[in-house]
Each structure stands twice: as C-alpha cells, then as structure tokens.
C-alpha cells in the first residue's frame, strides 16, 4: 500500500474533486428536481385525487365501444393516414432543394451553407401543433390546415437529413462521372442521385411514420382526422369510444411501422 501510494498516489487516493463530483452532480439534479416538483405543485393530495379519478376513467373505458359510428371512425383513421402521406410528400418535395443547397459537397458556398443550416435548425424547434394553430386560424378548420402543418414542421427536419445523406455519398462515383466530361446536371443525376435517392426515400418513410403520430396531434386543434374525433369524445366523457379509437389506432400504427420497416429494408 505504501509502495503503491509512492508510485501513483492518485490511483490510491483520487483527488477530492473526482471523489465528490458525481455526488455533487447528483445532489444538484436532486435539488433542481425537488424545486421543480414544488413549483409545479405536484403533491400527495393532487396525485392521490388524480389517481382515483384516473381509475374511474379507466373503468369507464371498459368495454370499448364504437358508439354506432364505426364507419366514421375507420374513415377518420384512413383520413389521418392520407393527411400524413400528403404532408410527408409535400415536405419531401420542398426539402429536396433545401437539402441540396445545405449539402457541403453540392453547393460550395460556406456562407450560404451556414445560413440555410441555421435557419433550418431554428425552425426545427417548432412542433407541428404550433404550426397547426397558426394554419387553422389562417385557412380554417379541416384536413388542409393539418396537412400543411405537418409539412411545415417536416421540411426543416427532412432538409437536414437529406443534406446529411448527400454529404455521406461516395465521392469517387461522382468523380468518375465527371471524368467522362458530363455537365453538372448530369453529374448530379448519374453520380449523386443513385446513391442518395434510396436513403432519401427511406428517410421519407420514417418521416411518414412520425407524421402519422403527429397527424393525430394536429387533428386535436382542428386539423381533421382521428385527432378531432378523439378530442370530441374526451370532451363529452365518452371514454368507452375513446378506448375503441385508441386500440384501433395503436394497431394501425404498428401495421404502418411494420410495412414501412419492410419497405425501408428493401431500399437499403
């Protein structure tokens, strides 16, 4: 022990800072957590009353019932899927030019590159629901506002992903097309797109999965689809119908995810 202490004192007795820093971090997080809990008013009384009421709601959910409106509910789910498809398509079309400009190996102007990246970063912070509020106020209730909200929230996200996929391509294929004397457009078409396109499509499919979830969210504030139906039923305490819709929705999401995962597996 004495020998070890002589050779490497820090291994035997780590500096006080190393010994205490994790406990210090832990204490800081705990203190912040307790302060936040106090601030939000989370207490025993609120929680116990809420859990009891939640129990009543869960009880009211069983057995699930379609409320004689099965056709309407199925149609609303299909409509939600349609909204997600159109929103993703529109976003992808807009994201292609943005992605091309934001990719370092396509547009070599660092200032433009930097500017468009930061703008996309800023807009990525705005969730679809915030867009939906604006667009419902601007163009009225209905699926159209929902579709545009999905698209607006998706454009910066897809644009960034497209640009990153573009930057990860194999430069040698591009150089070999250029070596044949092809024009810039030809190089893009035959040297870059064949590599980037499958990745882009797979990113679009993944985006579609996310958008099917967001489409419910924008529906709640008036964007149409199943979100609107759900919100209506929660407001009138028809929890058995809520349960029916949630179960149906969870099954649809799982099916869509499975299908999309298989398609993506084929692409890459």
């Amino acid at each position: 022990m004495a020998a070890a202490l002589r050779i490497n004192p820090q291994a035997v007795r780590p500096p006080l800072w190393d010994q205490w820093k994790y406990w210090g971090l832990f204490a800081a997080v705990l203190a912040a957590f307790l302060a936040a809990v106090h601030d939000l008013g989370i207490g025993y009384a609120v929680l116990s009353a809420g859990v009891l009421k939640l129990g009543v709601i869960l009880e009211a959910m069983w057995p699930p019932s379609d409320g004689e409106a099965a056709v309407r509910i199925w149609f609303a789910i299909a409509q939600t899927l349609g909204m997600a498809v159109l929103g993703t398509t529109f976003a992808a079309l807009m994201a292609v030019p943005l992605g091309l400009i934001a990719a370092r190996n396509v547009v070599a102007n660092p200032a433009l590159h930097f500017a468009i990246r930061r703008i996309m970063d800023l807009f990525r912070g705005i969730p679809a629901l915030i867009w939906a509020l604006i667009l419902v106020a601007a163009i009225g209730l209905g699926p159209l506002a929902g579709i545009l909200a999905l698209a607006f929230a998706d454009i910066p996200r897809l644009g960034k992903q497209f640009a990153e996929a573009m930057e990860n391509i194999d430069e040698r294929q591009r150089d070999s097309i250029r070596a044949t004397g092809a024009s810039d457009a030809m190089v893009l078409r035959f040297g870059v797109l064949p590599q980037a396109l499958p990745i882009w499509l797979s990113q679009c499919l993944y985006s579609l999965e996310l958008n099917f979830r967001s489409a419910v969210v924008v529906g709640v504030v008036g964007g149409g689809g199943i979100g609107f139906e759900l919100q209506e039923r929660i407001r009138i305490y028809a929890y058995d119908e809520v349960a029916y819709i949630i179960i149906l929705y969870v099954i649809t999401v799982s099916l869509l995810d499975l299908l999309s995962a298989r398609l993506r597996g084929n692409l890459i």
Binding site: A36, D39, V51, G82, L86, I130, R213, V216, V217
Partner: protein, 296 residues
C-alpha cells in the same frame, strides 16, 4: 466466329430481360405511389373548390398580420408607447414564468421517465435477461406507451388531474418512459457481456452483475439519450399546454383565441430561442459524454 455471335446474342437477351424486369418494378412502384397519393387526396377531401383561390396568398397575408407594428423612432421607448419593442413583448415576465413552468414540466417528466425506464430496460434486453416471457411483456409495454400520442394522454390526464402542469409532467413521464426504455435496452444489448460474466465469475448476483458489469458500459449512452429526450420534451411540453397541460402553451392558445397574432409571434420567438439554447447546451454535453465513451 459463330460462337462469339451466339454469346453476344445470349448476353443481349439476358440484358434486355433484366432491363424489362427493372422497368416492370419501376412501373409497378410508380403506379402504387400514384394510387396512394390519389387515395390520400380523396380521403382528405381536398378539391379545387375548397382550396379556394390564393391559398398561399391567404397564408402569406396571415403571416403579415402576425408582424407587430414597430416604429423606428420609438423602438426603445417605454411599454406604453405604441410601436416600441416593449409594447410588443408587453407581458414578458409572465411569459418567462410560463416558459419556466414548461421547462420544469419537461425536466420532471424526463427525469421520472428515465428512472422508470432504466431498471425495466435491463429486463427488456435479450443479452442480460434470458426469460423470454418477461422480456416480451416489458417490450410490448414500452411499445404501447410509445404509440399513444402525447396529446391524447394529456387530454385524459387533464381530465383526471385537472388542467395544469401536473397533467403535463405526468404525460411526459408516461410517453417518454416508453421510448427511453426502448433506447436504453438497445444500448444494453449492444454492451459487452464479458464484463457481466467476469462479475458473475467473482460471485456477484444478478444485481451486482448489472451494476458493475453492465451499467458502467452503457451509462454514457444512457445519459446522452436522456438529455436528447429532455430537448425533445421541452418542445412537446410547450405544445401540450395548448390542450390544458399548463406552461407557455396556455399563453399561445389564448393569443390565438383572442386573435392577437403579433403576441403569438412574440411568444413563439422567445420559445424558439429558449429551445435553441437548451439544444445547444445539451448537444455540447452529449458530445462530451459520447466522446468519453470513444476514448475509454
């Protein structure tokens, strides 16, 4: 000579048939895409008539209405002067307090979600939990929590816990627990089992094996996912306020219902800046964490 020609013809035939095959797949895919798109348009009930004239003009006009009426000469004047910056951000202290509430909701929700997900994720990882049934139960549980949209949970919790930040924090706890659990268990499955085996060889029970064999390996990644989720939850928490979960979303919703669109823009600007700042800090920490992993 003749042999060469035969080889050429055979080659050309094979090439043509392959090309036809590719074309068939392309046409099939294209038709599929067109059908899906047409079906989507029909389902959404979008027709030329209900889009109306100048859809984007109307949206543009709306965005114009969101702009405040600022005046250069009184830009830095007091709050009562119309056209000053302060009159645009007239309720700044109130909004900052609401944003603080939103961030606290995200913090509490993410922390609790991680605390729930971490122990369960060891049960969901195939390399450290060999009991198939238990593993499947935990995994399906995570999946279900992940699938239910936050906003639906928030509506139900707002009905149970009354409207306010408690409902929001609990919503984030439940929905983040599902996705964090999935990510944590995937991190554990990528971990090296040999460290676990060496603890077992030294006589450690399952708990000690996980604590000293697995946890040190996955901790940097777990922390990094935790922080990433915190970033996401801030913007989700802001949105949840709209359906009655407290925080800045309530102010946003009010601004819209009072058609006070320049206020909406003002709140949105602050919100985006705060989210951007949190992302920046958290990204720095995450890069350090993962960088430490690479060195070790």
């Amino acid at each position: 000579m003749q042999g060469e020609a035969a080889i050429l013809t055979a080659f050309e035939g094979a090439w043509l048939s392959q090309r036809r095959q590719v074309r068939r797949v392309q046409i099939f895919t294209l038709t599929g895409v067109v059908v899906v798109l047409a079906l989507s348009v029909w389902l959404s009930g979008i027709t030329a008539t209900n889009i109306g004239d100048g859809l984007f003009e109307r949206i543009g006009h709306f965005f114009y209405r969101m702009l405040p009426h600022l005046r250069w000469d009184s830009l830095f004047a007091s709050r009562e002067t119309p056209g000053s910056l302060l009159s645009w951000f007239y309720a700044l202290p109130l909004w900052l307090k609401a944003i603080k509430e939103t961030v606290e909701m995200a913090f509490v929700g993410t922390l609790l979600a991680g605390l729930i997900a971490l122990p369960l994720s060891f049960g969901a990882a195939a390399n450290v939990n060999r009991r198939g049934v238990l593993r499947q139960v935990i995994r399906r549980g995570f999946d279900t929590l992940r699938t239910i949209p936050e906003i639906i949970l928030a509506l139900i919790f707002a009905a149970a816990f009354s409207i306010g930040p408690v409902a929001g924090a609990l919503t984030l706890t439940i929905s983040s627990a599902g996705s964090l659990g999935k990510l944590f268990s995937e991190a554990i499955e990528n971990g090296d089992v040999r460290a676990v085996e060496s603890v077992r060889a030294a006589g450690g029970n399952w708990l000690l094996q996980m604590r000293f064999g697995m946890l040190p390996q996955v901790l940097p990644q777990v922390m990094s996912y935790w922080l990433l989720r915190l970033e996401m939850n801030v913007s989700i928490a802001a949105a949840l306020g709209v359906v009655g979960a407290g925080g800045i979303g309530v102010e946003l919703d009010q601004a819209i219902s009072f058609t006070d669109f320049s206020t909406y823009l003002a709140i949105l600007l602050i919100l985006v800046c705060i989210i951007f700042a949190i992302d920046l800090v958290s990204e720095q920490i995450r890069h350090r964490l993962i960088g430490g992993l690479g060195k070790a």
